[in-house]
Amino acid sequence: MSSPVLLLSGVTREHRQGSSVVHALCGIDLAVHAGELVAVMGPSGSGKSTLLHIAGGLDTPTAGQVLVEDRDLATLSAAAGAAVRRRSVGYVFQDLNLLPSLSAVENVALPRELDGVRSRLARREAVKALEEVGVADLAHRFPDEMSGGQQQRVAIARALVGPRRLLLADEPTGALDSATGEEVLRVLRGRCEAGAAGVLVTHEARHAAWADRVVFLRDGVVVDQSGPIAGAESLLSTGGAA
């Protein structure tokens, strides 16, 4: 059985605020395999964004382990970590952070160019990714010349571009109308079916329903799951969440 693309074991993240401690995550076990889309739901402040940041190596756990394609993010050098993040992981953040001085297609091509892909090819890939989310016609607009939902789709294209193995999306459908939101999920779902592993944070049950599994977080703890639990995952995960 192949190992998961993303494996969190006993992941805890504490924030110290003077004398008090905020437990953003407490002992999270989660495995996401290639071909699988997992949704994370939970009330505001339950730790969803923290989980995604840690999964993508943008934040480090105060305890526990994060493996992305069998590599322990904590043991990688800064440069190697950055390379994993760029090559293997695609993110859509809650705040989109498109670079305002770059056009849509340049924003999408940037991570590939940073990766050493030749500019012509990176552009071609970028246009394809923009097409997938239905905004190819806006390729030459700048972020401030697009609506919120259009910017959101550009941010999604940026996460999808190139051969990403792990897709992490934090509320990717927030600014989209329901038909466009559904389109985006279809794209995300398609990528997972084509072999990527995906983690989707959402408040919308309708969108979470596209996932193979839905994980419910509350106060930094997984309280429940719905949907079939993959056989391999139950062998690997240490917590008996079933």
Partner: protein, 201 residues
């Protein structure tokens, strides 16, 4: 669900007999409301008795009787389509009652009641989404696809309501949690609220 009106609608397409009606009903609604053939025949008998359908010709070689819709039946069908469905749903909504009782019964972990339901509803929402993706691939299946939409929206609304309940329960608990710091006997006050509500009924 009104089987009567369902059958009238199917007969509006043309005369048909029980087995065929059942098959057509299933085709239009998926397996959401499975009918057995007995229900179909009983309903046809009652419709015939009320003059809304009539026997169409003699039994066929297998002894099956076909029915057709009458003018009276057509009037009934039109009035069904043009009037809104009213839900005298409140007394039958077990979930709402369960939650109302959960918040007013001491010692019940309301949050876990909510979560248990949410996970179950989420699982059916996932299942419906899978069916819907399949149905959308088949453009001929509009009727079934719309029925699925209905079930999807309903499941989604239920989850939203559960989220809403959880937030409100958490807020109420936070309020109760804060008041003990004051000298007033806060828990007694908090208990008195549901009791007062019960007293009004």
């Amino acid at each position: 669900m009104s089987i009567r009106h369902g059958l009238l609608a199917l007969l509006e397409r043309g005369p048909s007999h029980g087995y065929q009606l059942r098959a057509e009903f299933d085709a239009a609604t998926g397996e959401t409301w499975p009918l057995n053939v007995g229900q179909v025949y009983t309903t046809l008998d009652r419709l015939a008795r009320d003059g809304l359908v009539a026997q169409d010709g003699d039994p066929d070689s297998d002894g099956r009787i076909a029915y057709r819709i009458t003018d009276e039946g057509r009037r009934e069908l039109t009035s069904w389509f043009t009037s809104p469905v009213t839900r005298h749903g409140a007394p039958r909504d077990e979930l709402a009652i369960k939650l109302a009782l959960a918040v007013s019964t001491p010692g019940v972990d309301v949050v876990s009641v909510v979560q248990t339901q949410r996970a179950a509803t989420m699982t059916s929402l996932q299942e419906l989404t899978r069916l819907k993706t399949r149905a959308d691939g088949d453009p001929g299946d509009l009727a079934w696809s719309l029925v699925l939409d209905h079930l999807l929206f309903r499941a989604e609304a239920e989850i939203r309501w559960l989220d809403h309940c959880e937030t409100r329960v958490a807020r109420a608990a936070a309020r109760r949690g804060e008041t003990p710091l004051t000298p007033a006997p806060a828990p007694a006050v908090a208990e008195a609220v549901p009791a007062g509500k019960r007293g009004r009924r």
